[in-house]
Structures are given as structure tokens and as C-alpha cells.
């Protein structure tokens, strides 16, 4: 395995979101009302990074917040309205990876893969960024529509960490918003970034995992074949990775043509014009 830096990940510069933007007056928390949504937004992240706190801040709901990993084992749903668009927000169970077969990881993964969120908010704990980036990178293989919520910034500051979020944003290729969800600090900026990604005003260019050697060659070959078969599939590389690992669920999805439906659905209904099912 090489230890070289990942290939150049310099991208079209993203609009950098500066903290301190006045709260958007047009945010309306809709609580459990998730009817007629325009955009579907998923909340993912490691356990105990504050996903449920972000969820509550955005929806105005009182989803139970605990301080232990694994508290949210099912998905919770809520809604908010921002600049005349309605968003349905789904709080996924916290997981460390998307590679194993436990129920909570499957719920999270299947939702990002088949639920086709218009934006996935990846909530990370700024005090243990490196560990949290493992999941972030896996999510970015599945979806290119993501925003990184760099949460618990107060905690990180208290421990003497300085985090260069602009550089992080450049490296990851998705908007990065520093937040303290408990005090709602950074929430306006987060909503703006989410609206930008969901509404395609912000174009993301997410970093892809840099495999090397024989694995990389196999991966590229299979990904190319998948892309040729299903042009427009945003996560061909990820599907290839799963197939090379022998993931039965993804094998079934490929065999049954679930991915064709996926691509066709995308083309038929560009994000943002979807009505509630």
C-alpha cells in the first residue's frame, strides 16, 4: 500500500461559508410535517457527534438526545422550510463505517444509496476529525451531494485544536460548515450550504478514495463497465468496490436492475422538482 498523498484534489473553488451570517429569516421549522417536500436531506455521521441535536435545531422537534453511541437506532424524520422550498430531513443511525452488515449500518447505507437524498449532511466530531473522516470518505463514494457539518467546534477549541475548515473544504470537495449545534451556532450557514447543494447552486466535487496497485486497476475497470452500462450513476466506483468485496445486497440490486430504475428516476425527475411520493 502506498503512502503517497491522495491525488491532487484541487477543485473549482466552492463558495466558502463564513460563520456569523445572520440567521436566515426564511427558515421555518415544520416539525413532523414532511408532506410535499421539494428536497430530501439525510443526516449521517459517526455515533454521538450530535446528529440528533442538528436534527432538532433544523426541524424544531424534540428528538431525544442522549450522550451515548447508538442512541438513534431507527430513522427519525422531520421537516423545515427555507426560501420557499420544503425539506424533508431524515436522521440516520450513527455508524463508524458503511462496510459491515449490522442493522444500523444497513439502514444508513441503504438510505443514502436507494433513498436518493438531494443532500446528505455528514456530521463529524471536530475533536476526533481523522476518525470521523473514515465514514465521510465512504459516504462521498456513494453520493456527491453532501455537506460536512464540522460539529462540536467549542469542544475542539477547548482542547486546543485549530481546524482549517477552508482547507478541509478544498480537500474534500464539499462545503464544510463549522458548527456548535447545541447552541445553534452555524446552523444558518449549514442550511444555506444544504440548500445550495440540494438545489444544485453549489457543485460539489467530492474526493474519492485513492486505492492503488492491482486493487485500483480492478476497481477502475469494473467502475468503467458499470458506468458504460448505466451512464449517470453517481456512485459507479462505490458499486464496483462493493461488488469486488462480494456484497450480496449490492449484487442483488445490480442483478435485479434496481440501479437502472435509480438512473432512470434521476433523469426523469431532476432534483428539486420531485413531489412527495
Amino acid at each position: 500500500m502506498t503512502t503517497k498523498r491522495p491525488r491532487s484534489i484541487r477543485r473549482r473553488p466552492l463558495p466558502v461559508v463564513e460563520p456569523g451570517v445572520p440567521a436566515p429569516a426564511s427558515l421555518r421549522r415544520l416539525g413532523i410535517d414532511t408532506t410535499d417536500w421539494d428536497y430530501l436531506v439525510a443526516l449521517a455521521g459517526n455515533p454521538n457527534t450530535g446528529k440528533s441535536t442538528v436534527f432538532n435545531a433544523l426541524t424544531g422537534l424534540k428528538q431525544h438526545v442522549g450522550n451515548w453511541p447508538g442512541k438513534t437506532v431507527a430513522r427519525a424524520e422531520g421537516g423545515f422550510e427555507y426560501q420557499a422550498s420544503k425539506y424533508k430531513l431524515v436522521d440516520l443511525p450513527g455508524t463508524y463505517s458503511l462496510l459491515s452488515a449490522s442493522t444500523d449500518e444497513e439502514i444508513a447505507r441503504d438510505f443514502i444509496l436507494f433513498g436518493r437524498p438531494d443532500c446528505t449532511i455528514i456530521v463529524v466530531d471536530a475533536t476526533v476529525l481523522e476518525r470521523n473522516l473514515n465514514l465521510t470518505l465512504q459516504i462521498l463514494e456513494i453520493t456527491d451531494r453532501a455537506v460536512l457539518c464540522l460539529n462540536l467546534m467549542d469542544e475542539a477549541r477547548r482542547r486546543g485544536f485549530k481546524i482549517n475548515h477552508k482547507r478541509l473544504q478544498r480537500d474534500l470537495g464539499i462545503p464544510v460548515v463549522p458548527t456548535v449545534a447545541r447552541t445553534a451556532h452555524g446552523m444558518p450557514e449549514l442550511i444555506e450550504a444544504v440548500a445550495g447543494v440540494a438545489g444544485s447552486a453549489i457543485e460539489t466535487q467530492p474526493l474519492r478514495i485513492s486505492a492503488s496497485g492491482q486493487a485500483a486497476r480492478a476497481l477502475e475497470e469494473l467502475a468503467a463497465a458499470i458506468e458504460a452500462a448505466y451512464p449517470g450513476l453517481p456512485n459507479a466506483r462505490w458499486v464496483a468496490m462493493r461488488l469486488l468485496e462480494g456484497d450480496k445486497r449490492v449484487e442483488r440490486a445490480v442483478a435485479s436492475g434496481e440501479f437502472i430504475e435509480f438512473v432512470e428516476a434521476r433523469e426523469r425527475q431532476p432534483a428539486g422538482t420531485r413531489a412527495a411520493e
Binding site: 491522495p6 451515548w68 482542547r159 447545541r182 474526493l207 469486488l244
Partner: protein, 465 residues
């Protein structure tokens, strides 16, 4: 969904198969390594440690709270403090609420008599339905309103994963999953919630063990029973200055017995029906966080206290009516309650209880909360209109008239800890396992355990005395 293989999909699967053969098993490791490598590179680029990280106060605190020697004693002490505060704090409000609610009953009965309502209507509505409600509210509301906020504070501080860490080695020994300690903590609130929380356990074998044994942690519906028995019987055996400590200690002892039974049953399961090795896992100790008071009050009072109380009230009203009917419908010179409890009595006596208690447990299958009210209403239901608004009167009824002893109280505490889960929990087990077989085992195995343990205790004590 189409089950036939699409042509393009088939081709892709074939190429995947071919490429996979060439790769060997190290592919996954290579990908995982690549992910770690990228994450490290990005984090190194973006994060700078401004101050050198010395051991922070949380690290020092963790060293004490999760120490091999002090970890478990501190945990038990913390539990004891929570119960002690609950017992001391709930005593007076409980009596005050009972006083008011039973006055209302008296006034209402007088009013019904005055307007000439038929005796059965007065009895059914006020001595049945209303009395059941009054009991549940006065016995349950104050302890819950104290216990839940305290428990939620511990949860928000981040103590639960530390508790799980302390118990991990125990669970590993018996072939179960260390996260079972977390699911048990949730069971302290409500077993149905505890069963759902078992989803955090990856391996199906270990998850099933955690689901089946969750019932052995007393839920909030059972705490009032345990606390009441602790106060009336256990505390009475100690001098007054130590009474509340003894009551709190007895409840902690019951929880410890529950944990021991959990370990024993997990051990038996992982060596028989659910054979296998314990899997290892990473448990992150989250940073200690300052609890948010508003959030705690909301979660503990609205989400938990009112939710549990609402459920209890819904169950208590019809149960009160059923008990009144059972006590007042007379067949062959004996009430229905009398027939059933008489039939159950020999079985009840053999495990240190009596027929009425077993009858109460049958009526209380929908909700454990109503066991004590059911017992009392069955004892007093048939015509004897005594009002029990103080613990002294309660003691007089149970000990003086019904012949309860310390052994009865201990057996009832154990039975309450171990018996079958409530119907909500059974239904949740079914939804989580999707298996009628495991649901049946989840319901009957605890019941059998309760009978075996209570029988052994009752017979053992009778032999010794």
C-alpha cells in the same frame, strides 16, 4: 421488484466475479487501508494542535470512573444515590396526591349515594375504574418525576458508555456482547425501548441474547412496586434513621440480582441454543458534556414520565373495572376473584406469594405498573371500603390482615424483577426478531426463571426457619 437478472446487470456481475478471483481476499483490507490513509492525510493537513495536549480533566475522571477497582463500586453507589433521592423525594408528594384523590372518591361516592345511583354503578365507576387510576397516579407519578430527570442527567453527561465499559468484561465472559450493558440501561427506563436499543449489537446471536434477557432489568413500571416494598417491608426491618438507605439499598440489590440473572441466562444461552464466541467491538467513550437543562426536563418529563404515566392510566382504568367486577360478581357464594385466586393459591404459596398476587400479575400483563393497585383492590375490593392513604395503613392491611411477611416481600420483589415482560415488550420482541418462536421464549423463559428463583428462595427460607 424484478427478480430476473437484467442483461447488463448479469454482465457486470460476471466481470466482478472474474476480477474478484484475481484479487484475493486482501481487496477489502486494501480499501480500508486506503480510506485510513486518506483520512489521516486530510486530517493532518487541516488540524493543528495549538496547545500540547496534557491529560485533560476528563481523562483523569475517566481513569477513576472506569478503573478496574473503583468502576463498579462507583456505579452501584451512583445507582443507590439515584434511588435514595427518588424514595426520599417521592414519599411526601405520593401521600399528598393519594389523600386528595381518595377524598375525591369519598365525595363522589357520597354524591352518587345522595342522588340514588345504583350501588353497582357507584362501585364500578368509583371503587373500580377511578380507584385504579388514583392508585397508579399517586404511586407512580412522584417517583417517575424524580427518577427520570436524574437518569437523563446521567445519560446526557455521558456516563452510560462508561458503565458499559465497566461491565464489558463480564458480558464477554458469558459469551454476550459488551454493548448489552447499554441496552440494559435503556431497559431501566422501559424494556420495550431496551429491546429496540439492541439494534446497536451487530451479531444476530448476541443481539438475540440481549433481547431475550432485557426483561431482567426492572423497568420504570416495576420500580414503584420495588420501591414501595422496599419502604414498607425492608426499611421497616431497620431503625428509622437508616430506613430510607435500607429501602434504596434493597432496590439496588434487586437490580444487582437482575444483572446476575442476566449474566447467568446469557451464559446458558450462549452455550446452548445460541452458541458462539463473543465478538469484540470498539466502544467510544464520548466526551463529558454539560447537560442541557431544558432538554433534560423535556425528555424526562414529557417524553418519558408522561408517556409511561399515560400508558399506565390507559391500562389502569379498565383493569380497575375488571377487578371490581371480579370481586363483585358472585358465583356459588364466592366472588370470581375469590375462585381464581383460590385456585392459584397453592401455586402462589409454593413460591412465597399467594393466589391474589398471581391473579394481579395475570391482570397486569398489559402493564406492570398496576400490580400493587390490583393486589390491594382485590384484597379490599369485596365490600371492605377502607381507604389506604398512608404507608402505615398499607402495612396494617398486608401484614395484619393478609399475613404478608418479609419473605413475601422479598419473593414479590424477585417475582416482579424476573417474571414475563409486559405485552408491549412482548410485541416489540416480535417486531424486532420477526420470530414467533423467539418471542414465545422471550415471554416464557423469564416467567420460568421467576418461578424457579422464587420457589428456591421460599422453600430454602422455610427449610432454614
Amino acid at each position: 421488484m424484478a427478480t430476473a437478472t437484467s442483461p447488463a446487470g448479469g454482465q457486470i456481475l460476471e466481470s466482478a466475479e472474474r476480477l474478484r478471483r484475481g484479487l484475493g481476499i486482501s481487496f477489502r483490507d486494501q480499501i480500508v487501508e486506503a480510506i485510513y490513509e486518506d483520512a489521516r492525510a486530510i486530517a493532518t493537513g487541516a488540524v493543528r494542535q495549538a496547545r500540547p495536549a496534557g491529560p485533560t480533566w476528563d481523562a483523569k475522571l475517566d481513569r477513576i470512573l472506569t478503573s478496574r477497582i473503583w468502576g463498579i463500586p462507583i456505579m452501584l453507589l451512583g445507582l443507590a444515590v439515584v434511588f435514595w433521592l427518588t424514595i426520599v423525594g417521592a414519599n411526601y408528594p405520593s401521600q399528598a396526591i393519594a389523600l386528595v384523590l381518595f377524598r375525591i372518591e369519598g365525595a363522589a361516592v357520597a354524591l352518587f349515594d345522595a342522588i340514588g345511583a345504583p350501588w353497582w354503578l357507584t362501585g364500578f365507576l368509583w371503587h373500580g375504574v377511578y380507584r385504579g387510576l388514583a392508585w397508579v397516579i399517586s404511586v407512580m407519578l412522584p417517583p417517575m418525576a424524580i427518577f427520570f430527570p436524574l437518569f437523563t442527567i446521567l445519560e446526557n453527561l455521558g456516563y452510560l458508555p462508561r458503565a458499559a465499559f465497566n461491565m464489558d468484561w463480564l458480558f464477554k465472559r458469558v459469551g454476550a456482547h459488551g454493548k448489552q450493558a447499554l441496552t440494559m440501561s435503556m431497559g431501566l427506563g422501559c424494556n420495550a425501548a431496551g429491546v429496540i436499543a439492541c439494534r446497536v449489537i451487530d451479531s444476530p446471536r448476541e443481539r438475540l441474547i440481549a433481547v431475550l434477557t432485557n426483561n431482567f432489568v426492572p423497568c420504570n413500571g416495576r420500580f414503584p412496586t420495588l420501591i414501595l416494598l422496599g419502604i414498607v417491608f425492608i426499611a421497616a426491618a431497620f431503625p428509622p434513621s437508616l430506613a430510607t438507605f435500607a429501602a434504596a439499598g434493597s432496590v439496588v440489590a434487586v437490580v444487582v440480582v437482575g444483572v446476575l440473572i442476566t449474566l447467568v441466562v446469557s451464559w446458558i444461552l450462549s452455550r446452548t441454543a445460541l452458541k458462539g464466541e463473543a465478538s469484540s467491538f470498539t466502544l467510544e467513550l464520548p466526551p463529558y458534556r454539560r447537560p442541557n437543562i431544558g432538554q433534560i426536563l423535556y425528555t424526562s418529563l414529557i417524553d418519558r414520565t408522561l408517556f409511561v404515566l399515560y400508558r399506565a392510566v390507559i391500562m389502569a382504568a379498565p383493569a380497575g373495572g375488571v377487578i371490581w367486577l371480579l370481586s363483585n360478581v358472585v358465583v356459588g357464594g364466592e366472588s370470581l376473584a375469590g375462585w381464581v385466586s383460590g385456585f392459584l393459591d397453592p401455586l402462589g404459596r409454593s413460591i412465597g406469594l399467594d393466589g391474589v398476587i398471581l391473579l394481579a400479575y395475570i391482570i397486569a400483563i398489559p402493564a406492570n405498573e398496576i400490580v400493587v393497585p390490583t393486589i390491594l383492590m382485590t384484597y379490599t375490593g369485596a365490600g371492605m371500603m377502607i381507604e389506604i392513604d398512608s404507608l402505615a395503613e398499607l402495612r396494617a392491611l398486608l401484614v395484619g390482615e393478609q399475613g404478608w411477611t418479609l419473605l413475601t416481600a422479598v419473593c414479590l420483589m424477585l417475582f416482579s424483577l424476573l417474571h414475563n415482560p409486559c405485552s408491549t415488550t412482548i410485541w416489540t420482541i416480535y417486531k424486532e426478531t420477526g420470530s414467533a418462536k423467539w418471542t414465545t421464549i422471550g415471554a416464557l423463559m423469564p416467567l420460568a426463571t421467576a418461578f424457579i428463583v422464587c420457589f428456591a428462595v421460599a422453600q430454602g427460607v422455610r427449610l432454614l426457619l
